[in-house]
Amino acid sequence: MILNETSVAEIKEKMVRYPRRKSAILPALTVAYHQVGHLNDDIYDEIASIIDIPAVEIAEAATFYTMFPKHPVGKYLIQVCHNISCALLGADSLVHYLEEKLGIKKGETTPDNVFTLITVECLGSCASAPMMQINDQYYEFLTREKVDAILDELRKQA
């Protein structure tokens, strides 16, 4: 079992609220993602047996949604919005800056498995651009100093 008791309990608790069990797929995927950091076939199988929906339907739904990584990622998943409003305020140069600082290219994970850097579409933070999301925390109005501080802090915690 990959999912721990807390996750299983949480999924079960959510499941019963819906008129139909199948509605619990996204909540279950979310719970699993929060615990594991990514999703995979084994997790789909486990969710399938918890909510009693065929595994294929779990996998079909899961792969539709891009928020859940389908492969292991670093402890901190840095997601830089590169959509229009952020791009107008330098998202691309922010990505380059992060690439340099972390010594990896976008799409990669640092060798110590602490950071993974990716770009994503609009995160609904357009008026606070440029911005990035690390795990489920937003960091907005980014400047070099802010980025440095954030990364230092996270490195310390890692």
Binding site: Y44, P54, A55, E57, A59, E60, T63, F64, T66
Partner: protein, 845 residues
Amino acid sequence: MSSADDNKVTLTIDGREVTVPRGMTVLEAAKSIGIEIPTFCWHPKLKPVGACRMCYVEIEKMPKLAVSCATEAMPGMVVHTDSDLVKQGRRAVLEFILLNHPLDCPTCDKGGECDLQDLTFAHGIDDSQFDFNKYRFIRDKKSTFDDYRLGPEIIRNQNRCILCYKCVRSNKEVFGEYDLGAFQRGNITEIDTGPGQQVDSIYSGNLVEICPVGALTNTDWRYNIRVWKTQKVNSICQYCADGCNLTLWKDRQKIYRATSRRNDAIDEGWICNRGRYGYQIANAEGRLTVPLIKRGERQENATWDEAIELIARRFKEIKDKKGGVCIGGLAYPGLDSASLYAFSKLFRTILNSNNVDFRIDYKMLPEEPGDLYTQITSRKFSIAGIENSDVVLVIGSNLINEHPITNLRVRKVVTQKGAKLYTLNPFATKSGDISTDEIIYRAGTVEALINGLCVSIVEQKLASDTVDASKLATRVEPNTVAQAAKISGVEADRIVGLAQALGEAKHITLITGELLSTSITRDAITAAIMNLALLCGMAENGQIGFLSKYANSKGAEKLGVMPLLSDSLIAEMKTLWGGYPEQKGLGADRMILSAKKEEIDALFVMGSDPMLCYPDGQFVREGIEKLDFLVVADLFETRTTQMADVVLPLSSIAEMSGDFVNLEGTVQHFDQAIKPLGQSMPGYDICNKIASALKEPLFESVARMQPDIMRLLLREENPEIQRELREVKTSVEQASGEYTVPLFVVDQAHHFAHLTERSKSLSAFCSEAHLELSPSMAEKLHAETGTLIRVESEVGKVILPVIISEHIDNDVAVVTRNFSANPVNDLQMRKQRVDYVRLTRVEEK
């Protein structure tokens, strides 16, 4: 406006006025007057999704092009299906689809029958404005194709896929299978199996047929032939009594594939893999092509003349010495009607014997005419009629395996029309997925359970007033719900709940299957079921289906290929033949028993393999060994042909024309696809040759005999249902001693009787017998999939690999019987109502 008109709408399509039922789509309305609108994602039996956008039409007063497949026809609509705008819209869709579609028509197996290819030509598209490299899905990084296996027979090429989703939709919506899905999204969406799965349900071949392009192809057809080189032949499936309509695709002497020939009354355009791949037995290796005669210990090639001469001589000797009663005949109920009829006629008019039977896998057959089971099974049943029911009750049938296509109709009424399904079985089956309550009774106690239901219906005052329910308590035993619950092991409240559902139902379809028909207490079960039917008013509002199993079981019944016939049928025979043997006939079981006692000296077996199929292998062997003379006609060497004095090569169904009567009683004709292989002959010709050699021909030509056959086949007995409740007192048989696990010998999902193991594609799904166990039973035995288990009964022993069933959840042993290497019938006892076995792990050395 009258209310009849309310249900109709009148609209104009391409200047023609058309009136159609309300609710119909514009696409169907156009179809109804012969206007074909091109489609990719639409399918007559699936809910429209409006995805491909090929079916655009222009509707006046609507601002945009409309998708006709998902637009309801409305009164006064003015539709144009061929305007410039429509054409432009469709061309654009085609251009979009073709962007990343490979140009590999010359090597694509769909070439020649591809909707995309056809429509591209029709729209005159020969040039794309797309000047990028095509996007490629490549599974196997070594090849430039995407030839990726989804299951035993399906190959996927994702690059050709146009994402109509018909495969995934039909798989879930119609077949209830969850092994295929669409993954990712947008233009990188991919059709694939579920995690760790493969596509191997018995419906999987339909996915290939429904695919409008060459994205899904099957291994039997791939790279073997081009469609335009083949000819189509109308055929009927021979692998169950559903009677699905098939098209065989052949070139010269070879059949290349089978596809559905949609018949809405029966199959609605779906066939199971047995029907789809079973044709392969015709061209399979190992077919018998010449007669064989046993000389000493060996069977040697012989000419037909030698063989017939020998048969005639030996039959005559035996008949002259001891009378025709010493000769018996067993015919396979999957034979064509003409062969079955000729077989019966040979015995009754030439050999003067009533010892004929087609019931090759029934335990202990009744010895008196007019047994209740036979009487009741002759009632009419309608597959399409299942759709009228609000409750479907399945008793004693693993429906999906026994009648895959009838099962789809049950699924349809349940999942699409909201009917309730109840299944009563000794072990859980796949139908449990959609049943309101899946009731598992202790093996051998179904009569008690049904009695309990009857009692509860009466107690809840839900009994139909067309029957005197007051007598029930004195006629049945057990006669309380509590007792029934105790005996059957089903909780009383579930019995009461089901009784209530049945009592309140407006229209019930009751289906029973093989687990009942082959039971020695089939008459008692039938009586119990008839009581239930009466109490629920099913005769008036519902239908009762004691479904027959083989492609022509129903025909065999109607043609009288049984020892004991009703008086009216005997009278019919007498008028046809001018005579009928006096002597009472013996059924299959009795024949073998008499052979054992040396009262029967000769047996003529046509098309069946009792050594493999008849319950109690030991018993059959002993009987057959005692025979003086055994003649067996079959397509392949079988356990039974090995023991024969004369073996005759039988033609397959594809090598003749003829008819089958399906489980509904519908007579369906099939055409000849190829010439008889080698010197093989259809059954009727064999019978005729023997008859001629003995006395006189049975017929001048099959065509001449056809009216007699049709007269019998179209005869309706449909006996009135007796209005009195019947006596059903049950005794309970207990497992004894060391043998405690109830055994069920059934067909494997992808196989049917003894023939399909010769089909390559079907063998790719499964090629050996298994022991199916519940997960908990497997755990008790420390067994995993593939673990070898010794299965022993009082009379026999086999060693089988385990399959852990997704469905079964009680302690039973389900064993599959279609493989000549594993005569699992050795485990069964012909006189025992429930067979019990002992299971032990075979320890590896």
